[in-house]
Structure formats: C-alpha cells, structure tokens
C-alpha cells in the first residue's frame, strides 16, 4: 500500500516538475542555510574554546601597573613594579597552585644559516604548569637553571620550524644576541590565541637569564607580569581579592591610592568570549531557521493549490474506495517526499558550502552530525506539519462534492 502510494506521489510530483523543483528549492535553501550557519557558528565556538584550553585554566595575569609621574598617568606596564619576590609571596597565598613571573622581550635568533625574530619569555619552570603547556621533545629547564641563570631555551613550534626545519633541535646550540643557548626542549603546538596571535612563535628561557643576560632591566629583579593559577573556578574571586590585598601591602600603597598593578581574571574574559561565540552561533542558526520556516510555508501553499487542482481526482479515488486516511496519506507523502529530498540536497549544499567557506575564505567551520540530524528532523517535521493541513482538507472532502468539482 505504502509502496503504491509512494510511486503515485512520485508520479504526481513528476507531472508538475517545475513546481515541485521550486517548492523543493525552499527546503534546499532553508536546510542549506541552517547547516552552513551552524557550521560557521560552531566553528567559531570551537576556535574560541580551543584558544581557551590552550591558555590554561583558572588564570590570573597580574600586570605591573600604571604610575603617576608629574601628574601624567602612565599606562599599565609603564613602571616595573612587580618583582620575583612578589611572585613568591603570591605563591604562598592559599588556593594558589602555581605562579609564573614573566619577563618578555624580543630578540633575533640564529642557527646556522637561519635566523628568526621572536618573542622570548623569561619565566620559571612553573610557566609550563600555569599555561598547561607540554613539551613535544626534550626536557624543561629546572629551578637550578633559574638560580644560576644558565643559557638554555625551550623553543615553540613555529620557531623550531623556522630555525631547524626538519632537524631535531634538542641539544643543539642557537645564538641569541650573539650568546650561545642550548635548546633543552621543544614546546607542544598551541595554535592561535583568542586575539589571533601565534602562540607557538615564542621561546622560553629562565627568568633570571632574561633579566640579567638578555634584556637587562633597569630595576633588578622586576618582571613585566605574573601569571597565577588558582586551584578551582570557585575560589577565583577570593584569590583575586587576596592578591590585591597582598600586593597593596607589599607595595605600601596608602588607603585610597591607586594600585600600581592590575589583576585580570583571564578565565572570566575567556568565558565571556565563549559565551559571545555561542550566542552568535545560536543567532545564526535562528536566522537560518526562518528560511526553513518560509520553505515549509511554500510547501503548504503548493499543496493547497494541488489539493484544489486535484479535487476531481480525489473524488474519483473516493468513489472507487479510497478512505479519508488514504487521501490524507497520499498528500502527506507528497509533502514529506518534497521536504526530505529538498533536505537531502540542502544538507549536501550546506556541507559543501561550509567546506568552500573553509577552503576559500579560511573561515573556521565545524559540521557536526548533530546539526545535520537536527536540520533533517526539522525539515521532515516542517513537511509533515505544513503538509498536514492541505492533506487533511483533501481527506475531509465529501465524495460527491469532490466528484462534482469542475
């Protein structure tokens, strides 16, 4: 019975090919748009989440703060007010897991015929813990390297590629500012940060080495920023408060005076970015869903026309024994077939479009099985929902009225 009805529905669709194709087009565009928009939205979301994961979790960054000089207030980081001793004091606070004081700078690296300018961060071995950064080869430097300010370095992936190519850098000696540094290890790939910087284009050296031998600060023992990791998400506000109090005390800042440092909750900022991406993803999906709805209304419109046009046919069918539900099923099947085929084409075009946006536009896309299944289910539901009313209308016709219809 269903088999016979399917082939009849197919025939009816074939009799009005252009109309069927145009009706289908509504579904194709609707489903294609939903798949593509979800892919773009989820791609962006995934990118943000990957950046967050690469940053490390429950992170604070403490920047040496603004200072006031002759009435002119300087921007953050202008005065080097943070010291290694500050970092040590923060580490002793409860609920703080790890602290990494950092002194960044830029220098030219040379290995053999290759050279590369990159960011060099002087820090402690705990930097790797705080940033949740693994080594892909070699070993990290140790506290004793920090104590004696040895010339050792850990290279990021981008740096390794530019200086060494395919060669294994571990144990090799590179030159930074004409001094030899032994490469102890290679940092695992991190990818892009939230603001789009290449996190792998970096070199890590002991903080003491950076301070004394590479960049030589004006104020001995100061660092540009300190990264601190709290033990969990819940204690972050408490830890932020205690860091503030501790540093105000250590820097002897009077009641009411501005801080000469600033504490930023990186994780909260990252979460905001993630939420933004999610909202964007939802909105793209919602807007695309409207076209799916419009496609469904198109199906309903055509099915209503079709029922009117074929009233006599319905009468003939009823006269020879079709029940109301047979007529209902026939028209419903037509609507479902149109929406399901339209949906299949839409999925293909949507996935293809996402792939093209990725290849041609360099856009981050993520086509998930869930989005395809959802789009498919929604399209089938739309077909049934919008096909139901015209089909029901057809099935409720009285045989004699349908037969007499001209």
């Amino acid at each position: 019975m269903i088999g016979a009805m399917l082939s009849e529905a197919w025939m009816a669709m074939g009799a009005n090919r252009l109309r069927t194709v145009l009706t289908m087009l509504g579904m194709v565009i609707g489903v294609g748009a939903v798949i593509l928009m979800l892919a773009v939205g989820q791609g962006a979301q995934q990118q943000v989440q990957a950046s967050i994961a690469s940053m490390g979790s429950n992170l604070f960054i403490i920047l040496s703060g603004s200072t006031t000089s002759g009435g002119a207030r300087m921007g953050g980081g202008a005065a080097p007010t943070l010291t290694l001793a500050d970092a040590q004091a923060i580490e002793e606070l409860p609920a703080v897991v790890a602290v990494a004081p950092s002194s960044p700078g830029t220098a030219q690296l040379v290995y053999g015929p290759n050279n590369w300018s990159t960011q060099i961060i002087g820090s402690l071995p705990s930097f790797l813990t705080v940033r949740d950064w693994k080594l892909s080869a070699g070993a990290p430097f140790t506290d004793s390297d920090v104590r004696s300010a040895t010339r050792v370095a850990l290279l990021g992936q981008t740096v390794t590629k530019n200086l060494f190519g395919e060669e294994d850098p571990v144990g090799k000696t590179i030159r930074i500012k004409n001094s030899p540094y032994v490469v102890l290890g290679v940092l695992a790939a991190k990818g892009q940060s939230l603001d789009g910087r290449d996190q792998d284009d970096t070199v890590l050296v002991p903080v003491t080495t950076a301070q004394r031998k590479l960049f030589g600060t004006q104020f001995a023992g100061t660092v540009r920023f300190i990264m601190a990791q709290a033990e969990s998400d819940e204690v972050m506000p408490k830890v932020e408060k205690s860091i503030n109090e501790l540093l105000r005390q250590r820097h002897r800042i009077h009641e009411g005076a501005d801080n000469d440092f600033s504490v930023r909750n990186l994780t909260a900022m990252a979460n905001t970015a993630a939420e933004t991406a999610q909202v964007m993803s939802l909105m793209l999906g919602a807007i695309a869903s409207i076209s799916l709805l419009v496609g469904g209304i198109g199906i309903m419109n055509i099915m209503l026309v079709s029922v009117t046009e074929r009233t006599r046919e319905i009468g003939i069918r009823m006269a020879i024994g079709a029940r109301g539900r047979d007529i209902l099923l026939q028209f419903l099947l037509e609507a479902i077939i149109i929406s399901v085929i339209g949906c299949l084409i839409g999925v293909i075009l949507g996935v293809g479009g996402a792939y093209a946006a990725n290849k041609a536009g360099g856009m981050a896309v993520l086509v998930t099985m869930a989005s395809i299944v959802t789009a498919f289910a929604v399209a089938a539901t739309v077909g049934i929902f919008f096909g139901w009313y015209p089909a029901r209308k057809a099935s409720l016709l009285r045989p004699i009225d349908a037969l007499r219809f001209q």
């Binding site: 046919e313 069918r317 009823m318 020879i320 024994g321 029940r323 004699i400 037969l403």
Partner: protein, 248 residues
C-alpha cells in the same frame, strides 16, 4: 417485483421511504420523495426520467457517494445510514462498481494503473494488482493498450477501461450513471452489449441511469422517476410508451 427472480434470496438493495432534500439559499428543495426500490441479485435495471427528476441524486445515494435526508437504505442487508466513512469507502471499494458518464479515469496514469487503482485501496499486493488489471483489460478487449494513457484512446475505449476498473474488485453490483451519454450510437451499443454480457454470463446486478429508450431496452426492468417519485417500476416490455420516452 418481476416473477423471474427467486423471492427467497436476499435483496442487494432495499430502499424504503427515501427522501432527499438539498439545502439552498431559498430553503430546502426536495429532490427525492418517498422512493422505495428493491433490487434482487442478478437484476438489470434501467432508471429513466427527465432532467431534474432526481435520477442522478438517486444514483449517488445508491453508490454511497451521497447520503439521503431520511429513509432506509440496506445494501447487501447492511444499513448504509449507520456506516462510518471508512465503512462506506469499503462498500464502494468491494461491493459496488461505479461507471460514470464522463469515464473519470486518471489522465496521468496508464490504463493498467487506472484499472488497478481500486485494488490499491483493497490492500492487494502489486503483482496481483497488475495481473488482475490486465485480466480485466483483456475482458473488455483492451489488453494491448495497457500502457497507453486515457487520452490516447477513444471515448468508447475509455468507457471500457472504466468498466474494467469497476469490475476489478469483482463487485456484485454495477452502478452506471449515463454510461453512454458521451458516446455515439454504435459505441453505445457495444458498451450495452458488454453490460448485458456481464449481467447474463457473470450474474452481476446492474443498475444504470439513462435518458435514452434504446439504451433502457437492454435492461429487463425499468424504474421511471418523475419529479422525485417513482412513477413506474416493472418489466421494460410492459412499460407504457410515455415511461420509455427519450428525454433530454
């Protein structure tokens, strides 16, 4: 009641005190008034009457396409007024074969598919549907046209296809509403010969509406309607000339 039929068998159709009114803006218009007709198995009845006499309405009620305003209608002993929509569809599918003046074939379907259509609604599997449709097309002499479309054959041939469709579910009763109304005399005679053969050889009960006396002459019994009432019910050969009058 013609004496040629056994009185102990059950009637196919038993209609009593049947009334039908159409509701119009000007109020109810009575179309059938106190109609009573009993049809026994194997009868061949012609229903005649001038335009507006209610014969088409009567036919639609007989065919379960329309319902009476009041009165009783027993089809094969079942009270049609008490049947649900699905049960009526079942009666139209299994018990009645309907032949229309305008043939009412599906223009896009092949003759084979047209004839097989009632079998879809009986839930017959595909192979058997095709076999039975072709058997019926052979029976009406159109076996070689099975893949043609209705618009590729003549009117007489289309009516044969419609008859094949009416026969495909092996009904006990064929209802034909002016089956020759759109056909020329020669073709009409062929169609009537087919009806006669179905009645005499296969014992199928036939009720047909016509306004032509020479078509009615093929039947054995005549029911004449005038202004919604039965004015004659008896053998065709006993009918007075005015009851056989050809009307338009």
């Amino acid at each position: 009641m013609p004496e040629t039929y056994q009185m102990d068998s059950n009637p196919v159709i038993r209609i009593e005190r049947l009334y039908k009114e159409y509701v119009t803006d000007a109020g109810p218009v009575p179309v059938l008034k106190d109609v009573a007709v009993t049809v026994m198995p194997g009868e061949f009845i012609a229903i005649m009457g001038p335009s507006g006499s209610g014969k088409s309405t009567f036919m639609n009620i007989l065919g379960c396409l329309d319902v009476a305003t009041s009165g009783s209608y027993l089809l094969n002993g079942r009270d049609v007024n008490k049947q649900s929509g699905d049960e009526l569809a079942h009666l139209r599918n299994q018990v009645i074969g309907f032949v229309f003046q305008g043939f009412n074939l599906l223009p896009r379907a092949s003759l084979e598919d047209n004839v097989a259509l009632p079998l879809i609604y009986s839930g017959i599997p595909r192979g058997e549907r095709t076999a039975r449709a072709n058997e019926m097309l052979e029976k009406v002499g159109l076996g070689s046209y099975r893949h043609s479309r209705p618009n590729q054959i003549s009117g007489g041939q289309q009516q044969r296809v419609a008859i094949a469709r009416a026969l495909v579910n092996r009904p006990k009763l064929i209802l034909a509403d002016e089956p020759t109304g759109n056909l020329d005399t020669h073709t009409s005679e062929e169609i009537m010969a087919l009806f006669t053969e179905l009645n005499q050889r296969d014992g199928i009960t036939i009720v047909l509406v016509t306004h032509e006396s020479d078509i009615a002459a093929h039947a054995r019994r005549l029911v004449r309607l005038s202004d919604g009432r039965v004015v004659y019910d008896g053998l065709v050969e006993h009918a007075a000339p005015q009851h056989l009058e050809t009307t338009t």
